[in-house]
């Protein structure tokens, strides 16, 4: 609700309620609510839920609490493509699709490098993800330097910092099939994620097809992360932080963990987006920047407290 109230034009709860119900509302307010803020709240929810579920799936598969969704190379791959597309003067209408395709291609490259036998080697996945991401980041840096001579540098940096400005129902509809596929794979992987908590070898002994589960989890996590990147650019820390918080409250059972991640991720992202629009209104803070300022201390606090407790 708070997300619907704040922005360039401050609205009262009564205005928003009236606009939502179409009861004798001011047409301008109806437009603001239905065409600008509501799609943005929904996008923030989808981005937050997608990143949190994606992070929880990868952390569970790799049994590593320091893994985040961007380990798959999705964001770095998308960033390179989007930066080069902006530099080449490609219309902004095409950048989400270009980012999505490049993100998925990068995830496939990371998966191919991490492949061992029929499955995925966790150590290779982390090494491949970190290495390719570093390479892509260097290319993005070059693109930004080159863009400084033109007017494109600001556009690239804004995308890298994460923003939902200018996104609408059409963007949400375009990513909906991929988000749905990612969520379906997340639901399918829940029993395997639970069994993988006791290790790959033991999971095999209870009948988990570990290789198939790994590919399903990686595909689902990549689809959700790529969809989020397309909708909001680089939004950090949700995929790392939210699974930690959810695990603390509901435990590690994926039946409770993944829905809890979805709710907490959606709520946090929507709240952060509202704060970004409110803090420097009528301008906007990049959501990636705000989440890094809040997320880093929160993550360090949780991680160090866990370590001290154990």
């Amino acid at each position: 609700m708070a997300s619907l109230l704040v922005g360039g034009t401050a609205l009262s709860p009564v205005d928003v309620a009236a606009a939502l119900l179409h009861r004798q509302a001011d047409p301008a307010i109806v437009t603001i609510v239905w065409q600008l803020r509501l799609p943005r709240v929904c996008i923030a929810g989808v981005v937050g839920a997608g990143l949190a579920i994606s992070g929880a799936m990868l952390q569970g598969m790799l049994r590593n609490p320091l893994v985040d969704p961007y380990l798959t190379g999705v964001s770095a791959g998308a960033a390179v493509a989007v930066a080069l597309a902006i530099l080449a003067g490609v219309s902004a209408a095409f950048t989400p699709a270009i980012g999505f395709v490049a993100g998925i291609a990068a995830a496939l490259a990371v998966a191919a490098l991490a492949r061992r036998g029929g499955g995925i080697d966790p150590t290779r996945l982390i090494l491949a993800g970190v290495s390719l991401s570093a390479l892509f980041s260097a290319i993005v840096a070059l693109a930004v330097i080159r863009a400084q001579s033109s007017n494109y540098a600001g556009e690239i940096v804004a995308w890298l910092a994460g923003t939902m400005a200018g996104r609408g129902w059409r963007d949400l509809a375009a990513t909906a099939p991929y988000v749905a596929a990612g969520c379906a794979l997340a639901a399918w992987s829940i029993p395997a994620l639970n069994a993988l908590r006791i290790g790959d070898v033991r999971a095999r002994t209870v009948g988990v097809d570990v290789e198939r589960a790994q590919w399903g989890i990686l595909a689902g996590a990549s689809l959700l992360a790529a969809s989020s990147v397309v909708l909001a650019g680089m939004v950090g820390f949700i995929g790392l932080l939210v699974p930690h918080v959810a695990r603390r409250f509901v435990g590690s059972d994926a039946r409770a963990m993944l829905p809890a991640c979805a709710l907490a991720g959606a709520g946090l992202c929507a709240l952060a987006d509202a704060a970004c629009r409110w803090i420097v209104a009528p301008a906007e803070l990049p959501i990636g920047v705000l989440l890094a300022f809040v997320g880093v201390p929160a993550f360090l606090y949780l991680y160090l407290r866990d370590r001290t407790a154990s």
Partner: protein
């Protein structure tokens, strides 16, 4: 019934075991013994379908384990491994409940009454009722070992394989576990167990499979295995034998003092 036909097992490109033939009947307790590195765990993993044979065939009730789907295999064979890896803060009951995985389809997320019964019964038989809600990481190594065995029992399979199940247990608990496994065979469950103590193997198992020099050196009833020279050749140490009042044999490494 477990069948092994001319089984050869490779590890790291090297032939570890070759020409393994034999069968284990339903309701039989077989102990697999041998020196370190003889291939005991590898053989157990091969029977569980986790290590494909380089040659030969391993069957459970006539079905080749290497071609069985993972879920179908897990309904036939449970394996209690000796590695102790935990990522999450799991409670004892959660771990035992994971043994019920093969009894569910992927969309069946909720435990059914028969799952609760199987888990409770497994925990009770291992003396873990009071530990059910404890986090596994708060338990001793021996207690954790019992939790893994409980998960294997909760899996409710006709074949139970165990890799050194008594390695971290004190004398009394080891006796309780081996007696429990022995009792399981009376319900028709087949138990194959890697063990280091040949006297424990002799006391509880129906037959002993002795591995050494890359082959199955002996596969017979305990007294015959313990009485044969093969034991000394396999371990490379002189043995002293002691006949107990009940006529059974025990062996000890001969020690010069």
């Amino acid at each position: 019934m477990i069948g092994l036909e001319s089984v050869a097992l490779d590890v790291g490109g090297r032939r570890l075991l070759d020409g393994i033939d034999g069968s284990i009947a339903s309701g039989e307790f077989v102990a697999i013994v041998g020196p370190n590195g003889a291939g005991k765990t590898t053989l157990l993993r091969a029977i569980a379908g986790l290590h494909p044979p380089a040659a030969g065939r391993i069957t459970v009730d006539g079905r080749d384990v290497s071609t069985m789907a993972p879920l179908r295999r897990a309904l036939a064979i449970a394996m209690v491994t000796s590695d102790d890896v935990l990522f999450e803060a799991l409670r004892v009951r959660d771990v035992a409940a994971i043994g019920r995985f093969p009894h569910h389809r992927w969309w069946q997320w909720r435990e059914r009454p028969e799952d609760d019964d199987a888990v409770s019964s497994a925990l009770h038989s291992l003396g873990l009722d009071a530990f059910a809600e404890r986090f596994v990481w708060t338990l001793s190594t021996g207690e954790r070992q019992r939790v893994w065995i409980a998960a294997g029992l909760a899996q409710a399979t006709p074949v139970l394989l165990l890799d050194e199940p008594t390695s971290h247990l004190d004398l009394r608990v080891a006796h309780e576990i081996l007696s429990l496994l022995r009792a399981q065979t009376r319900t028709g469950k087949t138990v194959a167990c890697v063990m280091h103590d040949v006297n424990d193997a002799a006391a509880y198992a129906d037959r002993i499979a002795l591995l050494g020099d890359g082959r199955l050196a002996a596969f017979d009833v305990p007294d015959r295995v313990l009485a044969s020279d093969v034991l000394e050749q396999t371990y490379g140490v002189a043995m002293q034998r002691l006949t107990l009042p009940d006529g059974t044999t025990r062996v000890f490494a001969a020690v010069d003092r």
